[in-house]
């Protein structure tokens, strides 16, 4: 399905983050904490925030695989973010020393259009094991603010 996608994620592309409700969206506002680094069931700590590439039709098909994890929470939709805007986060935030945000293509067997938002703070890559800090919170907030379009399932 996603063989056509170039290996380098272009600035003009948009990526999608699946959102569950009500945990990660409330009164129309996307939670900054929705942009998080997971620890996989294998125990590996992710060093990226999972997102999906592709156009709307591909994303609709692809995101159907995602299920809510607990009773009461439901699949709400996916938030679209411009890759170019994501990459500007680190540049615009002069208050955050040496921060770089990028989007990398990370295709997997089940999700060939899988990509990851990677964050480096003071030249250290943020992972799921990095303790919460105000700098990480600022990046998460900026990502949440980029979610101008939310596509409902």
């Amino acid at each position: 399905m996603a063989e056509h996608l170039p290996k380098i994620v272009g600035d003009e592309e948009r990526v999608a983050r699946v959102i569950f409700s009500p945990s990660y969206i409330y009164n129309g506002r996307v939670a900054p904490t929705a942009f998080r680094w997971d620890v996989l069931p294998s125990g590996d700590a992710e060093d990226y925030i999972s997102v999906l590439r592709g156009d709307a039709s591909e994303l609709d098909t692809e995101t159907r695989h995602f299920k809510a994890r607990v009773e009461g929470d439901e699949r709400y939709g996916y938030a679209l973010l411009g890759v170019g805007h994501i990459r500007e986060i680190g540049i615009d935030n002069h208050e955050i020393a040496e921060t770089k945000v990028d989007v990398l293509s990370l295709p997997s067997k089940h999700h060939p259009n899988h990509a990851g938002i990677v964050v480096d703070i003071a030249k250290e890559r943020v992972t799921a094991l990095t303790p919460v800090s105000s700098e990480i919170m600022i990046i998460q907030k900026e990502l949440a603010l980029q979610c101008s379009e939310i596509v409902r399932f």
Partner: protein, 196 residues
């Protein structure tokens, strides 16, 4: 023995004085309903012994209708208005407190009861206007996250059981802190600075 009688006398006089003051306060409160358009003068004294002399002196002034002595406990306290924002945040905190372990993947933790309890306690002491624009979210580490987006500021406060980790961006400046103690006073201070 003499000293005991003296103490007893002092206690009795004190009781009588308190009773008299309470009566005056009650009467005064009732009167105030009818004379709310009249000018009132509030005088605070550091030495209670001067009060009787002060009352006598004020009574002798022309135009004085009534003199009342209010004890500190009789002075009305500032009443907090708890409206929609307060109610929504309280309900949201209670709802998030029910999230089970694994609510966002196998590594996600239930929200620490201590965070919920401290947040609810603080909520009871926050003015409604300071809560406008704030939304509460869960954090997979088991924390609460208070998020703010306003016309002139954005902010985020992570509430662990013991600490407040926060930032706010306002007027082109960013303030951040990675380790304030999670106390009602500190949380109030952040909310005031974001809104102030």
């Amino acid at each position: 023995m003499g000293k005991s009688y003296e103490d007893f006398g002092k206690r009795q006089r004190k009781k009588q004085k308190n009773f008299a003051e309470s009566e005056i306060s009650c009467n005064f409160a009732q009167k105030v309903k009818n004379i709310s358009d009249m000018a009132q003068l509030l005088v605070t004294v550091s030495d209670n012994a001067q009060l009787p002399h002060l009352r006598t002196a004020i009574r002798q002034l022309r135009g004085v209708e009534q003199v009342a002595m209010l004890r500190k406990m009789d002075v009305p306290r500032k009443v907090l208005t708890q409206g929609k924002a307060h109610k929504e945040l309280l309900e949201r905190a209670e709802s998030l407190g029910k999230l089970a372990e694994g609510w966002d993947g196998s590594d996600s933790k239930a929200i620490a009861p201590q965070s919920i309890r401290k947040f609810k306690t603080a909520l009871g002491k926050v003015e409604e206007k300071l809560l406008q624009g704030w939304v509460l979210f869960p954090d997979a580490h088991g924390y609460l996250y208070l998020d703010y987006t306003g016309s002139n500021a954005v902010a985020g406060i992570t509430m662990t059981g013991e600490r407040l980790i926060y930032f706010f961006k306002k007027d082109g400046k960013t303030v951040k802190n990675d380790g304030a103690a999670f106390t009602t006073r500190n949380l109030l201070s952040i909310l005031e600075r974001v809104h102030g």
